[in-house]
Homo-oligomer: 339 residues x 2
Amino acid sequence: MNPSRHHGGRQCGTSYDVAREAGVSQSTVSRVFRPGTSVAPATRARVMAAAARVGYRPNAIAASLITRRSNLVAVVISNLTNLHYPEVLAELTRRLSAEGLRVLLFTLSTESEIDAVLDQIWRYRVDGAIVAARLSAKQQAAFVHEGVPLVLYNRPGHDGIASSVCCEAASGEQLLIDGLLCAGRRRFGLIAGPADSAVGEARIAAARARLEAAGLLPVAEERGDFSHASGLAATRAIIAAHRLDAIVAANDVMALGALDVLRHEAGLAVPADVAVVGFDGVAPAAWPAYRLTTVRQPVEAMTDAAVRLLLTRIAEPGRPAEQLLFAGALVPGATAPLG
Amino acid sequence: MNPSRHHGGRQCGTSYDVAREAGVSQSTVSRVFRPGTSVAPATRARVMAAAARVGYRPNAIAASLITRRSNLVAVVISNLTNLHYPEVLAELTRRLSAEGLRVLLFTLSTESEIDAVLDQIWRYRVDGAIVAARLSAKQQAAFVHEGVPLVLYNRPGHDGIASSVCCEAASGEQLLIDGLLCAGRRRFGLIAGPADSAVGEARIAAARARLEAAGLLPVAEERGDFSHASGLAATRAIIAAHRLDAIVAANDVMALGALDVLRHEAGLAVPADVAVVGFDGVAPAAWPAYRLTTVRQPVEAMTDAAVRLLLTRIAEPGRPAEQLLFAGALVPGATAPLG
DNA sequence: CGGCCCGTTGCATTCGAAGTCATTTCCTGC
DNA sequence: GCAGGAAATGACTTCGAATGCAACGGGCCG
């Protein structure tokens, strides 16, 4: 029926080759390699031996075609350079592997690539997707339309179409801001993220809200893009024009940039002159050179939840979307006196 | 023939649905979606319209089965937490996407997982693999046997079986060590990587060789695992027992750990008391808090070469393996006076 | 006006495994 | 010794697109 051709490069045999070699049918070979099927021990042994002889490897592509399960999960990450995301990616990959799912990785250099990425996602018939990138309502709806379970990571789910896992900003910022206020800080500078970043906006909005609750307005505000360089630039701009006693950055990497400018360019003492706080809990923030006071996202719990949400939606496509919120944990550090 | 069933969740139509809708054969639909085939403009338009109506998406899985090209490339990275690798991964993904290839990502928590990963790689019939993890000779040979083009990233190719792209250690370490020697440093401490890391060993061996050429032996040696924490530990151990004037670390992250201990625990001045050098050129090394003197791997050139090597081996499977070496570029920094 | 050639198109087959259904085998209990 | 049933196995179909080959049609040239 299906003897393996030897055209060009060598290739591993098919289930038909194994079947012929073992003197059984292809169905039996298939059953041997599929858990939960009943095959006589003797037959199984014969098939395994034959498979070893011909170097048989089940073809996941062929299996996907008929089972309509590719065991692939698309993971979309917008900026891997953000230091926080490699950690997320590593955790996601680890957990997905443990569940027998493979990761099809997409990274975005610019947000405009997203439509091309989605097209590829549809083509590969992934079983689901975990997206840490901005998706419009229309794009989120496309996942429903294509029947691909979607979990958003640290991005808001539009109209409850998609499931999502987020680290809630309010309580974390509250801890930071209230601490600073208690310690007597009054002149705050804010370093926001890009305007189109929901997490960034949420954090800065939360910070601003706490200040307002205390009857204060930020003395200065600048926008960065979450990068260290933008943290440097924003801080230079702020301190050139204003006298501050606290800087609140939308993420750790910009906060580290702020620290660098304050200490190494402005000659200011942290936290004596100016306190600095961030958000994320990236590894370098904890290094002795910085010891940044920040809020750490519970990456383990969040990635675990993301995978779990995805699995349940794969298992039960009809299931309604869930939005999970996680609270960050205060990491005291040494860059802010927290009353 | 093949009308789309509506079992359970909605799914997008097949080429047969489009064919029926457009009044053409399935072959024609296939041709419309495949570049380099000849279809009458009018027909193409009809098919495109029909495809839009039924929401057709070419099924890459089905196409892979018959073409024997999955357009998937396995990327295996051993420790994403190493700060250098996220950058490599981002570049690789970007370049592979540009070539129409998708990334199947595998990360390793422990080296023992590698065999399970290889098994998955065979099953998915990837077109090629880029591996930044330790592979035994046997494992490398398996790629040849399975007919999967392999490019090793910063790992030595065994017996020229596999292609590889490496950042050569000798010239970089020479620049660093000779500079330190010129500046009068004589009492060196080395922080090596794990014994099974080829790059780590190569760098430390190169450093030692330069010292020997100058008639010196390292005063102290410790081993880390490339992590910041291990850099801290190694440095504590070294300075507790010896008086040094230079520390050479096998990578930047450990060097940053060394800096942290020297400055914030030991109260030593860098570079006045002790100079520190690393290797890689990771982003935080250039931040004002550190300004580490190091050698930067040419990530752009290396990833570009890795992808290019892979593409040519995919195109011409018979082609012999190539080993490419790249030289790192000195990043002067402020942690070492380079004579 | 006929023949030829090329651009289009359809038919039929193929890729490799999974699973349905029918058949065989063997064991059990009466 | 035979009916009943469970386990094991095989024949056959299916998933969705790509492609070799044959057929068709139109334009061009002689």
